[in-house]
């Protein structure tokens, strides 16, 4: 079959052809970028936190009428309250381990500062998030210690968040160790917290995401440091590791037990006692919503474009009814007619996707300039092009088959 008659026919439908080309190009450009955004969101959702997320609970609560922590005596009083809570939780059935834990990955509460190699702010620094907690913190979170030792009870300090006390020992996550000591000899070295307080690295954990998922946290997303400090304040948070499958039971029991020890506390349903799966769902709900929305719009868009191709091709088939009959009478087989419309569609879609790829790249560049977007990988482009061509072929099949069913006898009738 020669392409010539197809081209000749297309030239007679310039407006219609350009419209379908434009529609295919726009659809490709939009769908390609949207799918890329969806892909990025899914990648974000699946980032590991570095902790063992199942059977983990976080409790956040505040004591009503607790001392403000302005002097040593009231700090001791706050610490006593916290230790009572920890003991209470530890004594519950189904609880494996409990730790004082100010923050967790994805929870959004973050204290961050620079860690440097010298006190004069010279040399290497690494912006890092601080995880305050006691000697149970690492094991409760299920962090994998790859070098050195865990905190022991003797390491643990307790003070308020504004204290200038220094913790002499810290555990760092591997990215922090690698950044400050590229030779891999971080263990046992001294670093300076906030650029001025000396501290020794006694342990290295493999991976621990910082508590924030906001974009300003991206440059140091895995730079985490564990500080052996039970933070004292009018509020306190705890991490609980439960026996497998007992999360719900422990959440229920913990509320009852804590209120029995001291009813004067605030522990609302919204953020008081949460399982880690709830924290994860909340942290990423916007990303998930965005991915679902974009996916839905893309599907509808593809549907509209396919319907447009069906509609337009149907009209062309109707219009050329008699010509098809003539071709059949002159010896063309059904398959020839079918191929005619399929090749015609392939040509139109071909021009459409070439234009669409250009548009998609342009749109991607614009998005990169105005939003946090990366360059679309070639893989996405290729997949989108093939998908559009396949969509065109699928859409054209029904009208093309109808065309191939036009009997030769039509040629003998008046139009």
């Amino acid at each position: 079959m020669t392409v010539h008659p197809i081209l000749a026919a297309l030239r007679r439908h310039k407006a219609g052809v350009s419209l379908i080309v434009l529609q295919i190009a726009l659809t490709l450009a939009i769908v390609c970028n949207a799918v890329f955004i969806i892909g990025q969101r899914i990648e974000r959702l699946n980032r590991p936190t570095g902790i063992d997320e199942s059977n983990l609970i976080k409790i956040s609560q505040a004591w009503v009428g607790a001392p403000s922590g302005d002097d040593a005596a009231s700090i001791e009083k706050l610490d006593a309250l916290q230790r009572t809570d920890l003991d209470t939780l530890r004594s519950l059935p189904d609880v494996k381990e409990v730790a004082a834990s100010e923050s967790l990955p994805l929870s959004g509460i973050i204290w961050s500062s620079d860690i440097s190699l010298s006190p004069e702010d010279k040399g290497l620094t690494a912006q890092s998030a601080y995880y305050y907690g006691d000697e149970h913190l690492r094991s409760t979170l299920g962090l994998h210690l790859i070098a050195g030792r865990d905190f022991n009870a003797g390491d643990i300090l307790h003070h308020t968040i504004r204290s200038t006390d220094v913790s002499p020992v810290i555990i760092v996550a591997k990215p922090v160790a690698d950044k400050l000591f590229p030779q891999g000899d971080a263990l046992g070295k001294t670093v300076y917290l906030d650029g001025k307080k000396p501290s020794t690295i006694v342990g290295i954990v493999e991976q621990l995401q910082t508590p924030t998922t906001a974009s300003w946290g991206n440059p140091f997303a895995y730079n985490s440091v564990l500080l052996p400090v039970r933070l004292d304040g009018t509020s306190a948070s705890y991490a609980i590791r439960t026996r497998p499958g007992r999360e719900q039971a422990v959440m229920h029991e913990a509320r009852k037990a804590l209120l029995a020890v001291n009813p004067m506390r605030i522990m609302p349903d919204a953020w008081g006692i949460q399982s880690f799966s709830d924290i994860r769902a909340k942290a990423y709900r916007a990303d998930r919503g965005m991915a679902i929305l974009m996916g839905t719009v893309c599907l509808i868009l593809l549907g509209v474009t396919a319907a447009g191709i069906v509609g337009l091709t149907s009209f062309w088939v109707g219009q050329r009814h008699r010509q098809i009959g003539v071709r059949r009478a002159l010896g063309a087989r059904r398959i020839d007619i079918l191929h005619y419309f399929q090749i015609e569609n392939l040509m139109i879609a071909g021009i459409g996707v070439v234009l669409g790829v250009l548009l998609a790249v342009g749109l991607n560049l614009w998005l990169m300039a105005h939003y946090e977007m990366a360059r679309i990988p070639l893989f996405y482009m290729t997949a989108a092009v093939l998908a559009m061509l396949a969509l065109g072929q699928a859409a054209v099949f029904v009208p093309a088959r109808r065309a191939s069913n036009v009997p030769p006898v039509v040629a003998t009738r008046a139009a």
């Binding site: 407006a15 219609g16 419209l19 379908i20 434009l22 529609q23 726009l26 659809t27 450009a29 939009i30 949207a34 955004i37 505040a62 009503v64 009428g65 403000s68 922590g69 302005d70 700090i75 702010d121 308020t160 504004r162 204290s163 200038t164 906030d194 001025k196 009018t234 509020s235 004067m264 605030i266 609302p268 909340k282 709900r285 916007a286 919503g289 965005m290 929305l293 974009m294 719009v297 509808i300 868009l301 509209v304 474009t305 319907a307 447009g308 509609g311 337009l312 009209f315 062309w316 109707g318 219009q319 998005l367 939003y371 946090e372 139009a415």
Partner: protein
């Protein structure tokens, strides 16, 4: 004539039901999606205090040490306590207020209610007048009361309803963070969106339930929320709860009634910075900004990127739907060449044919617009079910309703223009002959 064309249009549309449904559906989906996202964008980028926002300014000064200084870098987003108090006491603006946010535990007198946290704004006396906060009962505290660290509180209507069943509670006592406060005023419903005066607490649908004098908060060391940025030896602080003087953690707002006053105030900020540098407190050259509310919201990029992206996506979708409609209408009109040829031969002018075809596309647009409106309402309902902080604000207002219809009808008329024009170019003789 119009009625006749309408009749012709309806007949023609009914003849090709599947195609008509396809066109109407495409238009409706495109309009529905774009109106949903446009409404959300419209709500989120709205003016929190219409008529007043142009006179409200957010002064920024740069008290940071020399470390990390870069030319043309923006000063911090908030002020230190000492700068805030200096600017407040200078009193160079028509109104000014220094503030920060927090939450305080409240113990209701009624034993039936458990203690709970309320969102608090710690601020100074001018806050209410400057931001046009409407009082239901009583009034705000005076400047003298504030300086005297009075235990006075202004509460929001919702809290008044909850604790005092909506009665006039002025003079009643509220026990918060272990201290008794006297209610001096009750605000009527008031919730500027975005929450422009402090964006650290969440930008939308956030409202404080109690307003306390800042000086009282400083004395009682009440807990605060929001962001604190420190430099140098910023760690420690006043007592152990409040950040030090090398931390920014407060917002300062000034009302300047004329552009001349704003220019003078900016001048004042430069002088202030110079004075502080002479005193040795500031280390950097004067680096000041003075933005009004809308400029501040713009600079803070308060509208989420996701919402903008969704809006762009929806309009791209609408564009494809329109191109689709143009293509289908073109095919449809061209196929009726014979009918149009007969009408031309019987004396109908090109203009008449053109009008007839445009009415046909207008009908599609109108029906598509109604469908789009229903879809937009459904879309906004879906948005409201989502857990984001702005979800509850997503409602269609009259101006958006109007925009929807105009957009739908204009878009389809535009889409009908090319096909109608092409169809009118038919030579009647040729069409009649081929029959």
């Amino acid at each position: 004539m119009f009625a006749y064309y309408l009749d012709l249009a309806l007949r023609s549309l009914m003849r090709n039901k599947a195609l008509t449904i396809l066109m109407v559906l495409a238009i409706a989906l495109g309009i529905g999606a774009s109106m949903t996202t446009l409404t959300v964008l419209h709500v989120l980028s709205g003016d929190p205090l219409p008529g007043k926002s142009a006179q409200l300014y957010y002064p920024q000064v740069d008290p940071q040490d020399i470390k990390g200084m870069q030319p043309n870098k923006e000063p911090p987003d908030q002020v230190t306590l000492i700068d805030g108090l200096n600017l407040l006491h200078a009193g160079r603006a028509d109104h000014q207020a220094l503030m920060s946010g927090g939450s305080v535990p409240l113990q209701p007198e009624q034993s039936s209610l458990d203690p709970f946290y309320v969102e608090a704004r710690y601020t100074t006396a001018d806050f209410f007048a400057m931001f046009d906060a409407p009082f239901l009962y009583g009034r705000g505290w005076t400047e003298a009361d504030g300086e005297a660290k009075a235990r006075e509180v202004v509460i929001a209507k919702s809290l008044n309803d909850k604790l005092f069943a909506g009665a006039n509670s002025v003079g009643r006592t509220l026990r918060m963070a272990g201290t008794s406060f006297r209610v001096v005023g009750v605000l009527d419903s008031w919730q500027p969106n975005p929450h422009f005066y402090d964006l650290n607490t969440g930008s939308y649908a956030y409202g404080e339930q109690v307003f306390l004098p800042l000086q009282t908060m400083l004395e009682l060391r009440l807990d605060r929320n929001g962001s604190t940025d420190c430099w140098g030896n910023g760690g420690g602080g006043v007592g152990s709860i409040l950040p030090s003087d090398s931390c920014v953690w407060l917002q300062f707002w000034a009302q300047l009634d004329s552009p001349a006053k704003a220019a003078a105030y900016k001048e004042f900020l430069v002088h202030y910075s110079q004075d502080q540098k002479t005193l040795g407190r500031f280390q950097r050259a004067p680096n000041v900004r003075l933005r009004n509310v809308m400029q501040w919201l713009d600079y803070q990029m308060v509208v989420p990127d996701d919402v903008r992206l969704q809006n762009g996506l929806a309009f791209g979708f609408l564009l494809v739907c329109l191109v689709n409609t143009v293509g289908l209408m073109l095919a449809k009109f061209m196929r009726r060449s014979a009918e149009l040829g007969v009408r031309r031969a019987l004396g109908a002018s090109r203009r008449a044919l053109f009008a007839q075809l445009l009415i046909e596309s207008g009908v599609v647009g109108l029906v598509g617009g109604i469908g789009g409106l229903l879809l937009a309402m459904f879309g906004l309902w879906l948005v409201r079910q989502r857990p984001s902080d702005y979800a509850a604000l997503a409602h269609l207002d009259m101006s958006m309703l109007f925009t929807t219809f105009v957009l739908a009808v204009c878009a389809t008329l535009l889409a009908g223009l090319l096909p109608a024009w092409r169809a009118c170019q038919i030579a009647p003789a040729l069409q009649l002959k081929s029959n």
